[in-house]
Symmetry: C2
Subunit: 317 residues, 2 copies
């Protein structure tokens, strides 16, 4: 097992090789009408088409496949209300080991079902961070399973970094690279791959105003947790981790914030013009582009579309 | 200008070359979870990602670019309530000529706007076939514009055929090829390309029960018009044309009918599992697969996803 704090180019190369047999190499789409509205040249890397509808399996598979048989003997464990839980269950099933998942009692039923479909073993707890961490600690004490954190884990970050690595290989000469930021797994991986594989790529994150802890942490250079976040972008509620924060401080150039009405407008634009289903979190970077056109004018801009898991019965439009 | 009744392989090759600079080479997507549900191996050719969100520009551009400067001097004309109107306006603009579009007074506002955006010159009429044909005849008498029929035109059919030609080139060994059927432009083009470029491909169409004129025409081998069609698949309301019917009789193997609830179910499945936006008409072939699994069991099946133009404010789920 590799022991690195900040993944290097070798770890990301290895992650690409490891995950390749199990995941989709997702396409890059563009829309001339959105380009016209935005005033720049946008390339969307469609991780909404990834297995389970989200980039998360990249990190989970890389983490699980970084472990040897002996390390995996007692299974893996995490607490998660959503996509990481399903991704880790999927990865564990591929290695014939167990995935112990702590989920809050109010977790989305669709997401619970996804975990069950992949064979994850669910323990429910109160919907607080404290209860989640305590329940997970008990399960690990009992099972000796290895914890795989959803984002503050170098193997997970190296896995998430492969989406941007692919995009840099698919489109020449990108000048700006964008991702949304929640816990920072996708953003820090995106920043690393932009640095290792690109040429002078500016890394710009989008974050909801209602969950702007990364924005405040980044510009004050001191960690601010996410307290009572309130945004439609339900994938971006968590705080940064120690590793992701360090990478973001070092390799991200700008964080832009956008409010929910801007996110919904950008989301609808993507649905209508590109004919793809993206979740609110995925529309945050485009919302930031539309709000700050002067930064992007005439540039070649890559955007990682993080996922497409939305409930069709409760759309925001 | 080529004068052919049924387009040959040369006409379709020429169409591919003609339209290439102006249109997207659309990707083929697949979904392992839909494959599992369907019990076969499905490949979706995503014409919902095509310019203007639908395959129609293939035929319109091929038709307009088949004409020389002199023939184009007085413009082109058609009557259409929807996508062909926008596609023809787009094609005419590319050749710096006029597009005279007769639209029913109750046409969808989004579609009217699309025609206007491309510079189409609209004349409104009563929403009956008779009024549409009479108004168009008057405009052609006055302008000497050349009529481009939405589907019963060999140049349009050759253009629509290029989608299936691409798909056959993208995926080896397809055994069944599917398209929805309305006027039959897409279906007859798909059948021709399956015949010319594929090896023993069975061509199977899907049609709504509420607009089953092609089904009845095909199995009785005599033309039945579409009278008072009633289906959610609003792209499939029209009758076959003389040319499309002839091609369908000769090159299509089976037509399967599905009711609206089956169409909506298949549409939702595509949205949820594939994360792409497709209109009801596009979901008709998958609905036919799910209803007739024994026909498709274990086969490699290509499906032309015809378009993605839906009103997000009035979804059927």
């Amino acid at each position: 097992m590799e022991k690195v704090q900040i993944p290097g180019i070798i770890e990301i190369n290895n992650a690409s090789t490891r995950i390749k047999p199990y995941l989709h190499f997702t396409p890059v789409l563009k829309s001339s009408s959105i380009d016209e509205i935005a005033g720049c040249n946008l390339f969307f890397k469609c991780e909404n088409f990834q297995k389970a509808g989200v980039f998360k399996a990249r990190g989970a598979i890389n983490a699980v496949f970084s472990l040897d048989e002996k390390e995996l003997a007692n299974g893996v464990a995490t607490h998660s209300s959503g996509n990481h839980a399903a991704a880790l269950s999927f990865a564990a099933a591929l290695r014939n080991t167990k995935a112990y998942i702590v989920m809050p009692s109010n977790a989305n039923k669709v997401k619970i079902k996804a975990v069950q479909n992949y064979g994850g073993i669910i323990t429910y707890c109160e919907p607080t961070l404290k209860a989640r961490e305590e329940t997970l600690a008990k399960i690990i004490a009992k099972t000796n399973a290895i914890e795989i954190h959803p984002y503050n884990d170098e193997r997970v970050i190296a896995g998430q970094a492969t989406a941007c690595k692919e995009l840099v290989g698919q489109i020449d000469g990108l000048q700006i690279m964008m991702a949304p930021v929640g816990g920072g797994g996708l953003l820090s991986g995106t920043a690393l791959s932009s640095h290792y594989y690109g040429t002078d790529i500016n890394v710009i994150a989008g974050e909801p105003t209602g969950a702007d802890d990364a924005f405040r942490s980044f510009y004050t250079k001191s960690f601010h947790p996410s307290v009572s976040p309130n945004t439609i972008a339900d994938g971006l509620l968590t705080s940064l981790g120690s590793i992701t924060f360090e990478i973001i401080l070092k390799y991200v150039h700008t964080i832009l914030i956008v409010d929910d009405s801007e996110i919904v407008k950008a989301m609808r634009l993507i649905w209508e013009r590109m004919k793809i289903i993206v979740e609110p979190s995925s529309a945050v970077p485009l919302a930031a582009v539309l709000k700050n056109k002067e930064i992007f004018a005439g540039k070649k801009v890559g955007i990682i579309i993080s996922g497409g898991n939305v409930d069709l019965n409760s759309l925001p439009f």
